[in-house]
Amino acid sequence: MNTFQLIESQLNPDAAIIDEICAAGEPWVKIVKQGQIFRIVDLEGNQAVDTLFFNANHAWERYSVADTIRAQNKLYLTTGSKLCSNFGNVMLTITADTCGRHDTLGGACSAESNTVRYALEKYPMHSCRDNFLHALAHETACGHLDMSKRDIPSNINFFMNVPVTEDGRLEFVDGISAPGKYVEMRAEMDVLVLISNCPQLNNPCNAYNPTPIRLLVWETSAS
């Protein structure tokens, strides 16, 4: 696990134009313009950050797991990975990563999937899809794009480790992230970022303790 190539960023948080904390279990929405740099910091470690990207001008174009893994012929994301849209365009490029691996397959938790995965009576628990739907209902940036549940595809889970074995099993293993680890990416088009800072209390990968994240945006890649 320590064979990952970790690439640090030269950017100074003091120079960021956006520097916000997203509390555990809450959604976060922001537009990141083409050329800007976007960083997600795992403040306390092993937090799953369920993230979707949309073309900021036209939500029909959105992050696509299949296009992304096909374009790089690889399941996991790290420095150099290009996040592709359902139209085959590159939306963002990961330019720095001190965690080393991010999941493309696990998707988001929902009330309904919690009943299947854990127990029928888990339905009332807070979930990532509730966060996504809450954001679609309240955020004007989502309203302007006329977004609905129909526009929610499979998401990225930053800082999550979901290894696939060669014999075709899917494993949920302890995170490889730690306090202060981050992933940084350059927007290749204007993107709407839709995050659910996962409130999952049933999965041991975050020690049953969702924690806050920090989100930063820099104007350009020049430091």
Binding site: N86, L105, S148, L170
Partner: protein
Amino acid sequence: MNQENISLWEEPIPGGCHWSGILRRGITLRLADVSGNANAAVLFFNQEEKLERYNMADTLKAQHTFHLTRGHACYSDMGRIFCCITADTVGWHDTVCGLSDRTLIQQKYGITRYQEHRNQMYRNGLDGMLIELGKWGLGMRDIVANINFFSKVTANDAGELTFHRNHSKAGSYVDLSFEMDTLVVLSTAPHPLDTNTTYQPGTVHLAAFTTSSAAASECKQIAENLRGLHNTHRFYPPCGGAL
């Protein structure tokens, strides 16, 4: 085929073509790879509420699997099961690599248009799906990661993907036993990672028959699937809650 497998209807879908239709709960759809080089790209939608659709992540997570085979269920994004895979002579079906599109087919195989080649023209998976989705008022917003029946793609430790050519043999089949009234949308264009250098997608033969009582229990070995079936049956009164 035994007594219970009397065909209700059958239909061959030539390689590269597309099809859609509604499969009612209690019906099994058999997909057969006629010549051994088929790929059946498939998406499922709830026939009554098409916002509910096949969900790759929930399907894989619920069953701790990267590939689909007999005993697995195909989940919607609402915690319900569209269908169970109740028979499978292939052993591995991909659900993460998506569809071939126009650019990919042209780059790999060249341009072969209808004007010169009639129905031998080269078609792609995405356009085939969009044409079928359009018939039901759906479109690009409804395209999510699909299942690619008959295609095997593995991943190594680093997550690098390998397409296994000639994985499915002539005559191979997979049975999908429906638990919901489901809109099935299907393309028989090549898998996007197919390593074949010539365009020769195989025919997929569809056959529908009544699900046998033995087949109905196939996916109940997995505890999560019992809960998925519970959610599914609740959707259809008066069976509410019954397993």
